[in-house]
């Protein structure tokens, strides 16, 4: 059981906690920027979503799982995951509604004053946002499931440490 004791206590040292408190907003903002400007600059829904998930992973590592799950619960994460997927599907089906084919870009594409505008490219930024929400929520859920809920050995027999029981432990 070497190397696992410090994982059981809540969060990391005060240095990490302070740095995380200052940095988490900026990291989240960077992820949101990568998602929203995916049609203009390198990036897009997937990498931006991973950065947003990394924000919550950082909060989980620094402050412990109860704090992070208080910010973004598992139920809310799974709902956001489904919501992003459905939004992407509805955007794709919107082409049918507009009287054309599936996945037709049915919003006006070009900005009247030129290229490199945030509000251009029709449904592409909206698709990026839906993919970003979906990827961020689902990867945070994967982290919570794989790394936080775990089986540990207590007094020679297996014991399950869950997010519900972690407070009483």
């Amino acid at each position: 059981m070497t190397g696992t004791e410090y994982l059981q206590e809540k969060g990391l040292s005060v240095v990490v906690k302070t740095a995380t408190r200052w940095m988490k907003g900026f990291i989240f903002l960077y992820g949101a920027y990568i998602v929203c400007f995916g049609h203009l600059t390198p990036g897009g829904g997937f990498p931006g979503g991973v950065i947003i998930a990394a924000t919550f992973v950082l909060i989980t590592l620094a402050f412990g799982r109860e704090y992070a799950l208080g910010k973004l619960g598992k139920l809310l994460a799974s709902e956001l995951d489904s919501l992003g997927a459905l939004l992407f599907l509805f955007l794709a089906a919107g082409g049918l509604y507009a009287g054309s084919k599936f996945f037709t870009n049915f919003i006006e594409k070009a900005h009247p004053t030129g290229t490199f505008r945030l509000f251009s490219a029709g449904i592409i930024p909206l698709c990026n946002i839906s993919i970003g929400v979906k990827v961020g929520a689902s990867l945070f859920m994967v982290f919570i499931i794989l790394a936080v809920v775990r089986v540990v050995v207590v007094n020679g027999k297996g014991k399950l440490i869950t997010t519900e029981k972690a407070g009483t432990k």
Partner: protein, 185 residues
């Protein structure tokens, strides 16, 4: 210049992969895999694919965190036992066969750095580059391709991710683990 840098990075990636395979400490292996991913990200940046570089870097960081959390919380982090001889021989034979076929396939590939998808005049890449901005309004050509011209691919990718997360949730949920542990007793 770029070719030499890419060559050095490929060499470093090979070294990282070998260290990850040969080290007996699982944590060192995970860190070596992370180094390989970081070098791959720099390589993508050098050969002009910033979208892939960003994706590679952030996915590498996140998967490294998950792997380390999953690795050092397990009791078994070192592997002491030797490899068995028949398994090693079979692996070597399969690797040799793949090497032979791979060298044969390498000969038919275009020159390194030559854009393969614009070799034919009827290739769709010409249209993406020439009229992608006009037809989709997206200044980033990659976003124009993956979300407009090839939207079905992205929808399929999103479906794959959704389904795999669903499967992971079903297998790894708490009640399933409890049942498995109860049956083990």
């Amino acid at each position: 210049m770029t070719e030499m840098a890419v060559g050095i990075l490929l060499l470093l990636m090979l070294m990282g992969s070998l260290i990850a395979l040969e080290t007996s400490n699982l944590l060192s292996a995970v860190v070596a895999v992370g180094a390989v991913g970081a070098f791959a990200s720099i390589t993508f940046l050098l050969i002009g694919a910033p979208d892939i570089a960003i994706t590679q870097m952030v996915v590498e960081v996140l998967s490294l965190i998950i792997l380390i959390r999953a690795t050092i919380s397990r009791d078994l982090t070192t592997i002491d036992e030797d490899r068995d001889i028949p398994g090693l021989a079979a692996t070597l034979i399969v690797l040799m066969a793949m090497l032979v076929f791979g060298l044969e396939a390498l000969r038919s590939l275009p020159q390194f750095g030559a854009p393969a998808f614009t070799a034919s005049p009827a290739a769709p890449a010409h249209r993406y580059l020439a009229s992608g901005l006009k037809e989709t309004g997206a200044a980033n050509a990659v976003a124009a391709v993956i979300l407009d011209y090839r939207g079905y691919d992205t929808l399929g990718e999103a479906t794959v991710l959704f389904t795999s997360i669903l499967g992971a949730l079903a297998i790894l949920r708490v009640s399933a683990r409890k049942k498995r542990m109860r049956s083990r007793k």
